[in-house]
Symmetry: C2
Subunit: 428 residues, 2 copies
């Protein structure tokens, strides 16, 4: 198909009238579809139901080290949970602290602690005039919401197919001591599905921050969330890399089983150097009497080991893969060659990131909504919800059923075409 921009005004007008008719028909269907939520479908949750049988009233609820998991105690997680999550994110068990059900909460706590208590002896951030975080964009809205909530100034750093623009990261981190952190989703990034290249990770590890209390917030949310068994992205392990580079304390790594077992009832963890963990443990001693060890035990006895997790993730992939492919194939078939949008075909994660022509995203999302299809709000993947080009749209294929997804994607491409044609006609 020829690019829209190559077409004449008359051709575009004819196209527009056809698309408008199609759109009115679609609206008349009164659909109620949702491609906004990066959450697992009911079918995915069903594959973990046997976890509910793992513990019962006759179970021995003692950990391998003899801890009664029902009672108080063990602030930083039972040994076997550290080993399981350690294997999952490729760090030794001693570099792990197990938390409650939400890695987002761990990240929030980490920023909050830095605000009130600083980082390993630094001035508490709440006493500083200015604290800044670098935000690779497009990125994860909830990361940006945390830094916004704490009044931290966010600086956009463009993503490239290899990861964040490292020239810009190196410059900002080394020159500005107000820069205290950077949000990263290094594998199958939210929303683009990009995995940081080896070179990118190595440049991260070799950063020379102006601020001693600068930390990389490495949210490895999709570390084992592959779509294909035989075509997976590989990410270098950042903790080891930072240690090699003489920066052992520069990174906090976050993970959880939220999109492995049950999103609301999983187990989250932080991995970091001993010095960082020792500081975090000081806070934990004050903050809680310990997280839910019974749930830790439930996870360990269900998955057993890394092999168990890998097998489990294949079941997720079997459900997710056709959904991703359905959306991607529709985009390719309907929009390929039209030059009114671009996207990346991810090999894992939970999202497809679509970039419309400049200035069209809000309008496309509004049109979708009018036709009963909810997309993530425009600008969501940017700090302060401001997409400078108004072009990024996050597509979340996981939650709808395959039938809903097909319908929703058809409406989506229709809206992309219609809004793009209108945009092009503005200048003719």
């Amino acid at each position: 198909m020829s690019a829209y921009k190559e077409r004449s005004r008359e051709e575009l007008l004819a196209l527009k009238s056809g698309l408008e008719a199609e759109y009115e028909e679609a609206k008349a269907l009164g659909l109620k579809l949702d491609m906004s939520r990066g959450k697992p479908s009911a079918a995915q949750l069903d594959i973990s139901m046997e976890m509910m049988d793992i513990l019962n009233s006759t179970s021995n609820l003692k950990s391998e080290e003899g801890v009664d998991c029902r009672n108080y105690g063990i602030l930083d997680g039972i040994r076997e949970a550290k080993e399981l999550l350690g294997a999952m994110i490729e760090v030794p068990a001693e570099n792990i602290i197990i938390y409650g059900n939400s890695s987002l909460n761990v990240m929030y706590d980490t920023v909050s602690r830095s605000m009130t208590h600083g980082v390993m002896g630094s001035t508490p951030w709440c006493r500083l005039d200015k604290v800044k975080f670098l935000c690779p964009v497009p990125g994860y809205d909830r990361h940006f919401a945390i830094t916004e909530y704490f009044g931290i100034e966010m600086i956009n750093v463009p993503m490239t197919p290899e990861g964040p623009d490292m020239d810009m990261v190196e410059k900002l981190v080394s020159e500005d001591s107000a820069v205290k952190g950077i949000w990263c989703v290094p594998k199958y990034s939210n929303p683009q599905g990009i995995t940081y290249s080896d070179e990118c990770v190595r440049r991260f590890a070799r950063l020379k921050p102006a601020a001693k209390d600068f930390r990389i917030y490495w949210d490895n949310a999709y570390g084992v969330h592959h779509l294909y068994e035989d075509d997976q992205d590989y990410l270098i392990e950042i903790l080891a890399e930072c240690e090699k580079a003489g920066n052992p304390d520069m990174v906090y790594k976050f993970c959880s089983t939220s999109k492995i077992s049950f999103p609301g009832s999983g187990v989250a963890a932080i991995a970091a150097s001993k010095a960082n963990l020792d500081e975090i443990r000081k806070q934990l001693t004050i903050q809680t009497i310990g997280h839910d060890k019974v749930n830790q035990l439930r996870h360990v006895r269900f998955y057993k080991d890394m092999d168990g997790i890998v097998k489990h993730m294949k079941k997720h992939a079997d459900i997710l893969r056709p959904k991703f492919e359905a959306v991607l194939n529709t985009l390719e078939r309907e929009l390929g060659g039209l030059e009114i949008g671009s996207w990346i075909r991810p090999k894992g994660g939970y999202f497809i990131s679509f970039d419309s022509m400049e200035g069209c995203a809000s309008e496309i999302i509004a049109k979708c909504k009018e036709a009963g299809v909810i997309m993530t709000p425009a600008g969501s993947a940017y700090p302060y919800h401001k997409d400078p080009h108004d072009s990024n749209i996050r597509i979340a294929p996981s939650y709808p059923t395959p039938e809903e997804l097909m319908q929703a994607t058809r409406i989506f491409v229709l809206c992309v075409k219609l809004v793009s044609v209108n945009k092009l006609l503005e200048n003719r």
Copy 2:
């Protein structure tokens, strides 16, 4: 028995030599006992084991309102969990937010949020020169640890048999705008087992704080933790009382099922006015995608309603009562009339508070340790671990077996006698 202080130097010396011989015999036993930990015993945990059967792989994990509890969503708790915990702490479900497994964590979060974001529009506490909390003493060490961690100045307020010294509370709260909070365990207080009188609670509700952002931190940890079915303390409900007094926003009430189901795997909650909860929800939106709803469901389906909780608590009482009575009867039998110590006979909660002669507590605890009996460290029930009279000792009878408890208590009274005799001899 006659009071030690009435006895002659010779009588005391004879007593001392007998006690020392007894103490050496006790030491030779090489005991390893612990009366320091306010945690349920294995027998108490066993009565909740059937909770592990409540959910299995064939269960419908939807809430009454149709929420799939396995997935993300529902920030502030499923409806039925709010109703159950609301019934438990006598507030409407709409005044409740359900959290994760630890009410201590909720309290920590509450202070931390006030530090970084203030309270309903007030200046964040981290920007103030001075923030103070009132601390009824003796009190709960972990409360004091939170305020100490955040650099909040703590002011001791003596406890009376009716609750904190309200003359002092009223004066400090109304005169000093740096006073932002007071820690309270209003029912079966930690460690004394005192329940605040009706008049005391009403005076709390009628406080006229100098600081708009003053809040009562009402930790109702032992609200249903009675020892006797027919002899229970009654506590006026503070939220309703504050509302009646025109101070609806002045209190945060905390509770959990930690000492009802499993200490590490329970459900915690905060209760407060709508205005307070609305502010907390703003934080929650940033902090987490929601707490563990499967565990909420597990609790609701196990206890069903308040009647279920009451029946369950009777089983706990049946295990705890003989332990409390064993300790109390030994104190009475061995120390009654000697005037070397005093204690209160609690009707619920987890502790017995013992007051030795002035200046003896540290030495008694050290002597106990030497004979293999671990007591809570001296000063623990006071801010900064400083007991101004060095007299308070917290006894936790719940965790040891009855046999261990009898042995430990015998060692304890022996140490009390020995240290007291030595103290009295200093001045003869």
